[in-house]
């Protein structure tokens, strides 16, 4: 009995241990080896989960043509990131995705050391001949959920659980409140920065505080499903972030904005295989499928669904832009002039809060 067990362990160990050595040599040109460096673990049900879903989409779509390696918990910055990117390149990966903003400096550095390896960096702005970036227009989804909140909120006050005051987060907040105020001109959005992307207990406590102070809608730009789970118990409507969080809020999670990286990963891998890849900086929106708004909860009334769909469709066919002026900032000054549709550069460096936001930094 004990002998058998030990033998099985040994056998299993040896066969599998031999695999990595073989794969590097035998597969050569046939498979494209693709490496992913993850900020945290897929189990966060947020940012990294969404990237992992994208990686799985890639595996499913291209099957034998790719071999995918994922490294978890690489962290936000520093020598660890560099080391992991270098390790992935040394393992023979020819396409490497660095999946968070903090990986930018490391990606620039390591991509220069491996000119024959293609790197892509998520949400950054620096490029090189073998380094591209990719991002998604999350704010388009925020405009959709803001519309829903504007229609359905009785108090006209929503709470926004935020991470850091970076342009991406400010942009999302603004899109939400602008959309809500198109429906209810008195709508107020209270926002709180937690200085963390992931602390379930703190996110939950912040949601509770918002609700206790009269917010009747909760939305978040942090990664854990804790606020959704809390809202489900308290009967407060909310929205999922980064991944479909309806499992945590079957009744109260009205819809989720899903970061949908799969299409980009598949397109990029195909381009690399075909030899047509060029460094680019795609910023995919609802139109390109860079993000997806999941089907609305049955509790969302039909007219609200129709209004949300109109905002969604307008952004897909380009007839609606949430940041089209005139817009005021939170102190009443001019934010976007009348008739102006701001360019991407304006959006990507956004630091100003739109009218209706109450925030403390």
């Amino acid at each position: 009995m004990t002998m058998a067990t030990r033998r099985t362990i040994l056998k299993g160990g040896l066969t599998l241990a031999a695999l990595p050595a073989l794969s590097g040599i035998a597969l050569g040109q046939e498979k494209l080896k693709v490496g992913f460096a993850y900020l945290a673990v897929p189990g966060d049900y947020g940012w990294t989960y969404a990237h992992d879903q994208g990686a799985n989409d890639l595996i499913e779509a291209l099957g034998d043509k790719v071999e995918v390696t994922k490294v978890e918990n690489v962290g936000e910055a520093g020598p660890n990131v560099e080391r992991v990117l270098r390790e992935l390149a040394q393992q023979g990966n020819k396409l490497i995705f660095a999946t968070t903003f903090g990986h930018m400096e490391a990606a620039v550095k390591v991509s220069a050391e491996f000119p024959d390896v293609i790197f892509e960096h998520c949400t950054g702005y620096m490029t090189a001949p073998n380094l591209g970036t990719y991002n998604a227009r999350f704010y388009e989804g925020r405009a959709v959920i803001g519309t829903i909140a504007g229609h359905m909120s009785k108090a006209g006050v929503a709470g926004y659980i935020a991470s850091f005051p970076i342009p991406e987060v400010v942009m999302g907040m603004n899109a939400f409140v602008i959309a809500a105020r198109k429906v209810n001109p008195n709508f107020v959005l209270k926002a709180a920065y937690l200085s963390t992307w992931f602390d379930p207990a703190k996110e939950g406590a912040q949601a509770q505080a918002f609700i206790d102070q009269g917010c009747d809608f909760i939305t978040q730009h942090t990664d854990s499903p804790a606020p959704v789970e809390l809202c489900e118990r308290l009967g407060v409507p909310c929205f999922g972030q980064a991944s479909d969080m309806s499992a945590f809020g079957p009744k109260m999670c009205l819809t989720s904005i899903v970061d949908n990286w799969g299409p980009h990963y598949i397109r990029t891998a195909e381009a690399v295989i075909a030899g047509t890849w060029k460094p680019a900086q795609p910023w995919d929106g609802l139109k390109e499928g860079g993000l997806v708004v999941t089907p609305y909860n049955a509790t969302v009334p039909a007219d609200v669904q129709a209004a949300a769909d109109a905002v969604k469709q307008g952004q897909i066919d380009g007839t609606f832009h949430i940041f089209k002026g005139p817009l005021k900032d939170k102190d009443g000054g001019e934010f976007v002039a009348d008739g102006v549709t701001p360019d991407d550069g304006f959006l990507l460096s956004m630091q100003t809060y739109a009218e209706g936001i109450e925030v403390i930094q």
């Binding site: 362990i9 040896l14 990595p20 040394q90 400096e105 970076i166 400010v170 460096s349």
Partner: protein, 360 residues
């Protein structure tokens, strides 16, 4: 039959050196069994983690860069622990060192010159010492337990880092991301050889260990520390001041942790980010113990821990082992080491407690 521990008349020299080796071997065996039981390739995982970083020359510089801060901090801690001063605030002192160096860097952004980096390093060391001076003062003047004060200060300093990065130290060109600007060339640690990632912090770690070894084994200070630590009463008769030893132990360990922090900030990071504290100050406690509280032992122990980190990443890329495995291996390594330690001072003696013939 039962086993009983019996005190050795003399600590065993053999076990002193055999225990860490045994601990590493036992960790490998236990890790292989545990991960096999969990459905992973246990033996493969152990081989990847513990041998790949050594057999693959590409990984050597990674090991050096990873081990350097661990060694520098652990050398300082081993001196403090020898003196029976339990500084577990190295994480905070490491961050303080980075803060001290970065403060200089931010003031000298528009300047150039070879003097900038030495000033940064000096300020880093001083910042680490300053933070360690708080528990030293409280311990010597008010007899406040240094374990508790050093532990508490870790978290306060990390919050200070967050605060500075979010407010006045934020890169004005950084789109409001909480990080400082990249350091200039005059503010960055040069590389040993161009084209590698091996920076001057790596040989610094070796030099620090050698100097500490020399001081501890050859100087009056080293003798004083060892006497105060192992026999406080004898030390009092010998005229050694316990208070001065506490001050020295905390200032040296705090200063070295600060040095590691500023080297890490000016070397691999070249800026400060909220992700800067990565628990090196806590891992270095493992290193200090694994290294038998001896400066040269810390060099080897630092390498072993670096192997477990780098190897853990290798095992992720080649075997799909989860990142959590690294923590499990490090935890087990320390468990086995601490358990093995007992045989340095004691030996196992079989004592028959039952009549012969009865199964034990």
């Amino acid at each position: 039959m039962q086993f009983r521990l019996e005190k050795r008349p003399q600590p065993s020299r053999l076990m002193l050196y055999a225990a860490p080796v045994l601990a590493v071997l036992l960790t490998m065996v236990a890790g292989a069994v545990l991960f096999s039981a969990l459905g992973y390739n246990g033996i493969g995982a152990v081989l990847e983690i513990f041998t790949k970083p050594l057999t693959n020359p590409l990984k050597w510089q990674d090991l050096g860069v990873k081990a350097a801060p661990l060694i520098i901090i652990a050398v300082g801690l081993s001196i403090a622990y020898r003196a029976n001063v339990w500084n577990i605030g190295a994480e905070g002192q490491y961050v303080a060192g980075a803060l001290g160096g970065t403060a200089v860097a931010l003031l000298t952004m528009k300047m150039q010159g070879p003097w900038i980096l030495p000033v940064m390093i000096l300020c880093g060391i001083l910042a680490g010492m300053a933070l360690a001076a708080i528990p030293a003062f409280l311990k010597t003047q008010l007899d406040v337990n240094e374990i508790l004060t050093t532990l508490m200060l870790n978290y306060a300093v990390v919050q200070l880092l967050y605060f500075l990065l979010r407010t006045s130290w934020k890169d004005p060109m950084g789109f409001s991301f909480p990080k400082t600007p990249l350091f200039t060339a005059s503010q960055s640690l040069p590389f040993l050889w161009p084209g590698t990632i091996m920076h001057w912090g790596v040989p610094t770690a070796i030099v620090v260990a050698l100097v500490a070894w020399f001081v501890m084994s050859r100087s009056v200070f080293g003798f004083q520390v060892r006497v105060v630590g192992s026999a406080p009463n004898a030390a009092r008769y010998g005229g050694f001041s316990a208070k001065r030893t506490v001050w020295l132990a905390l200032l040296v360990s705090g200063g070295l942790a600060g040095l590691a922090g500023v080297l890490e900030a000016a070397g691999p990071f070249r800026q400060l980010v909220p992700a800067f504290p990565t628990g090196y100050g806590f891992t270095a406690i493992i290193v200090a113990f694994l290294g038998r509280l001896s400066p040269l032992g810390c060099v080897i122990a630092g390498l072993v821990l670096a192997i477990s980190y780098v190897g853990g990443e290798v095992a992720q890329t080649t075997l799909g082992l989860p990142s959590a495995a690294t923590g499990i291996f490090q935890g087990m390594l320390l468990f086995f080491l601490l358990a093995g330690d007992v045989f340095v001072r004691y030996r196992l003696k079989a004592v028959s407690t039952r009549p012969a013939g009865e199964a034990a």
